[in-house]
């Protein structure tokens, strides 16, 4: 695939229905730009909270010719670079991840998406979910 040729230093692993790229040393914007350059379509971002409050892992999912491509980024803090200016399709999901996990995407402005006034970001980090 073209994306593999474009990122020769990346390692690819097939796992659970997606082709995952390890992109150590690359920024999220560099990898996103490589995806856009080969014509991949953005699907979504899945955010995970790491155990023992060590930060977060973000999984970016893309589609290229019917294949799901994924790459992950871990952040020890609570901010990561936004790719909204590169890919307008990420607008809502970046806002949703911010509201759900209180992860700030730097370099863009926010408007509330799912939360109503008075709610604070981080609703997915709450423990008191109905059981």
């Amino acid at each position: 695939m073209t994306i593999i040729a474009n990122l020769p230093e990346a390692e690819w692993t097939e796992k659970g229905g997606a082709l995952w790229m390890s992109c150590a040393g690359k920024s999220v914007r560099e990898v996103a730009k490589a995806m856009i350059d080969v014509g991949a379509r953005f699907i979504t971002i899945t955010a995970h909270e790491l155990p023992e409050q060590k930060g977060f892992r973000l999984e970016y999912h893309w589609d290229l010719d019917g294949r799901v491509l994924g790459f992950t980024f871990e952040t020890s803090g609570s901010s990561v670079e936004s790719i909204y200016d590169l890919c307008p399709a990420v607008d809502w999901i970046e806002r949703e991840v911010f509201e759900g996990f209180a992860i700030e995407f730097t370099g863009r402005d926010y408007k509330p998406l799912q939360l109503r006034s008075g709610e604070t970001p981080g609703v997915n980090l709450r423990e008191e979910v109905a059981r």
Binding site: R41, D63, A89, W92, P112
Partner: protein, 363 residues
Amino acid sequence: MTYKIPMGPYHPGLEEPYKLDMICEGETIVDTEINIGFNFRNIEHLAETRNYVQVIALMERVCGICSFIHTLTLCQAMEKVDGHNPPPRARYIRTIMGELERLHSHVLWAGIACKLIGFKTMFMTCFALREKVMDILQAISGNRVNYSMNCVGGVNRDIEDPAAILKMVEVLEAEMAHTIIPVLTTSSTARSRCAGVGVLTKEQALASAVVGPTARASGVAQDIRKAAPYAAYDELDFDVPVQEAGDVRARLLVRALEIMESCKILRQALAKLPPGEIIDGDGKFNFLKPASEIGTSRVEAPRGEVFYSVTWQERMRNPKRLHVRTPSYVNIPAVRWMMLGNRLADAPLIQASVDPCYSCTDR
């Protein structure tokens, strides 16, 4: 001078809550703000507290129209985690249920579109026809909204008399061909209200990553059933209708043609339904020794691609993380581009032309 016209959040043309703020100059829309979240349930977070059986019932309730599709996508993702492989008969039953759901969703949308165009007799005709699709779904599953058909490794219920279902599909196809399709494709009323209205160009469709009929009406020939076949789609012959105009009429035509393609798929699937088991193993999720820690799956829902990601966690009966990306979530933001430069009076029809589902969007 510009002024803002609010539409919603209560029943903005459809019986679900969301809000559009249209910035107008005279009668012309120059910008649109889209507000969602009125139905926000944080169902993904709730899913992390449910075990692998309960989570299927929970995710079936993300959407009242494509409830089968949600559990299908979820079960396919879970099958990638635990290594189950549904038998051929189950894959065909999943295809049949998926296409029936597409039919009833598209006919429902056609009825709402007719109502918004001002064609109220046709609205009633569409809903009468939709009832017949619901009758078939009920005959197969025993339910009309939440079918409880999918489980890990297959389906819960068999189609015991495919010939009877095939007869019902043939009657339905003839009625579609004689009533709904001519109105949607040839009526001058539909043409005058829809042609050239709410255009989304191919470049805008690609930039906003829209999916399903919304993308295909803008010339983006993308359909998960063809691009990444699941269930039994790789064994069936069907076409993917694509239109280039990107307007409301193109979205109308794509869905009308898809209704006929769905009937074609249903006839083939019912005729070729293979014998055998409908479930692989005991239908229980193996959370002790998974094949993969993460499973992703995509399905072509009536409104476009649904994506699920399921993450397993050791020694736990519930998923660590479950994420769902619904088609309306990516299609609704494109309404902003569709509205630009259009008349305020066309706003209800334009926003409805993406077949928005707010329940899916808010989750």
